[in-house]
Symmetry: C2
Subunit: 416 residues, 2 copies
């Protein structure tokens, strides 16, 4: 098993080298051909997907799990559209910036280049195979995919179709490979191949991500969870604050940019909490409040210690009244997950201070945390979100799948 | 011991948080005060340095080692000048770029922020304590330094002086700390503190760097060695090529951007090798050549297999005649260290192809590899060189000690 994975990684490295010379036109052709091939080979893909679904039903997977596993027409179409959208995005590779002439006479600048080989480790959704492969290809990288055991037939079928499209454009099919071994030990082998894999991106539950982070010798871009905070300042437009809190908590509570904790300046708590509380309760949100919150909103539950910094992912909101902005910032530093925090304020200095002093990957003024997303931010497509500060921080698009090298144009200069 | 290091790292994290609100003026004041304090406390520092030197002589350290350990007047002045130069550099923190208005009405951009806490692990040169602390401070980071046991008294003395300068400006002295424990286990403890240290930068021999890379749970920016290549194309200006080869090999052979391997297109080998060979031999360079090289230059030694990709760091050069540019690129991919490679050519397409297809951190046309340096590239000062592609690639200056977060200016927008 080990040898097989090592050999796949070596082939990926070799493919990545070839991809350094690939033109934008060629990459876009492949992406469009891939979309076409998915359409044409739909029956084959669905037959393989049906094998996974049958095995899943046998194993007693939940309805939600089976749902995630299903390559429905809707999911198939979304993969094809995704490929076409990625083809339409600008190519990040080759961009040259910061070119300057130095006193020595050499011209120095930076050229954007692919990272090389990306290792993707994910769970049950087979569409990740196509979505991730498309982004990596457009950024000029080879990708080694290791999906969940429940989706193995689907993943292998998708990879086969994508590889045929690569070969048709004379690109090394090893640029997109699905590891056929579903044993967890395969992940350990992958995480040790620092010579042939440049970056690991895990997608899935916190357990998988922690396992990857703790066992990898390769850099990992990850986020564990999204515990987003909103702070309603004493100068806030309270109607705006209500809209932002309601949208953050109720528009789609199961995702990482949903709101989990509301902090309210004590000077406006008596006015704001009854108003927002009524809306929240009407929408079916369970409020878990600090003692001061409960004194104003007696219908709410008492927050437990571990409700602060907790990712509920459902219609539950922790609410705390704070003395001032310092206390709000302290609370956020202690409990946030470096994902997204927002302040609602009409005070210029407080807005600037919040933007400067909160070091989460996204910091907002007067906007819903639900905007924290690669698509909404204009990155075109999102390969994931990073909540650690190295390399990329926040939503990651194509550029985050590249790096920059220095280039020098000389005319025979030597160093004195 | 473990508790002490953990407690230092927690204090560094706390200090880093305070530094998010620090003004540029305050950072520059501290840097200038530090230079002043080094001058004033020179006697104290030299007394402590003398303790290290005495212990070193006792232990039988080599003259070169003792030399590196010595805080001579020249080294002291260079540290003070370094502090003043860093004060004069532009502050990277707070820069806002790529601000765009999105269809939803929110304005999204990126703000440059400090990384947080940097862990620096280095060997015997005590001046690294001051040089690294200055750059980290200017980029708004706290730094935890772990130097070699031979320099411990010097490092602690320098840290004491720097901390007094921080305190005088009301900055938490925990922003610059030297770990007083010289046991190697202290490094292991440090490398496990991923909650409180954001980045590890090792500086020293390959052994130390490998140890750090293999044991760290924190991202590491490192380079093992510099095996720089020059390829002399068949269209090269051969006089220029000779100058570039001579400069790369002989101007300062003991450093990582010195030239280690010369590749020569076979079409010009018979003309070029005798010319450059004569100059090299005159300069005392030992040439280790491939069979074709030896056929042209019989005075040179035969290259052993492990001379390809070897970092000689002295007046030895490996020389190979290659069939064409493809063969040169193949050789570089197989043996380079991702540091710096240069092509000497008058052919436009070959120059562009070399720049595009070689993915080393610095790629040059018609210039000496010796230019590969933060100072020469205009970064102002260099904290190190990275030869892995994540986060930073190539010489690292102040910007590479920062990251970028997303900021959003809204006017009450919610997601539909």
């Amino acid at each position: 098993m080990k040898e097989q994975i090592i050999s796949m990684a070596e082939k990926a490295r070799q493919a990545a080298r070839g991809m350094l010379a690939m033109t934008t036109a060629s990459k876009n052709n492949v992406l469009l051909n891939m979309a076409h091939a998915l359409e044409k080979q739909k029956d084959f893909i669905c037959r393989e997907n049906e094998k996974d679904l049958a095995a899943g039903r046998e194993k007693g997977l939940s309805g939600a799990m089976l749902d995630r596993l299903t390559l429905s027409d809707k999911v198939m179409n979304s993969m094809m559209n995704g490929l076409r959208e990625v083809a339409a995005l600008p190519d990040p590779v080759g961009e040259i910036t910061e070119m300057v002439k130095r006193p020595s006479g050499i011209a120095v600048g930076r050229m954007r280049i692919p990272l090389g080989v990306i290792g993707m480790i994910y769970e049950s959704r087979p569409n990740v195979t196509v979505d991730a492969a498309a982004l990596c290809l457009k950024a000029g990288n080879a990708i080694l995919l290791r999906g969940g055991s429940e989706a193995i037939n689907s993943n292998l079928a998708l990879a086969k179709v994508l590889q045929e499209a690569l070969a048709a454009e004379n690109i090394d099919p090893a640029a997109i490979q699905v590891i056929p071994i579903t044993d967890r030990k395969a992940i350990n082998v992958m995480l040790g191949l620092e010579e042939d894999i440049d970056l690991i991106i895990p997608r899935g539950g916190e357990g998988l991500i922690r396992f990857v982070a703790e066992n990898s010798r390769i850099p990992v871009l990850k986020h564990y969870k999204g515990v987003c905070h909103a702070f309603v300042d004493d100068s806030a437009d309270l109607e705006m604050a209500t809209k932002i809190v309601m949208n953050g908590k109720t528009q789609r509570p199961g995702v990482c940019n949903a709101l989990e904790t509301l902090l309210v300046h004590e000077a406006v708590a008596e006015k704001f909490l009854p108003a927002v509380g009524q809306e929240l309760l009407k929408a079916g949100v369970e409020i878990r409040g600090c003692p001061k919150t409960r004194a104003i909103l007696p219908q709410c539950l008492a927050a437990a210690d571990d409700d602060w910094g907790r990712e509920f992912l459902e219609l539950i909101l922790a609410v705390k009244v704070v003395k001032d902005m310092d206390a709000a910032i302290d609370h956020i530093f202690k409990f946030c997950s470096q994902h997204t925090e927002t302040i609602v304020t009409e005070n210029y200095s407080n807005a600037q201070r919040f933007l400067r002093e909160i070091d989460s990957s996204t910091v907002m003024v007067n906007a819903s945390t639900r905007f924290s997303d690669g698509g909404e931010f204009g990155l075109g497509a999102e390969i994931g979100i990073s909540t650690t500060k190295l390399h990329a921080y926040g939503p990651m698009g194509l550029k985050e799948l590249t790096t920059r090298k220095f280039i020098v144009y000389g005319e025979g200069q030597i160093r004195a």
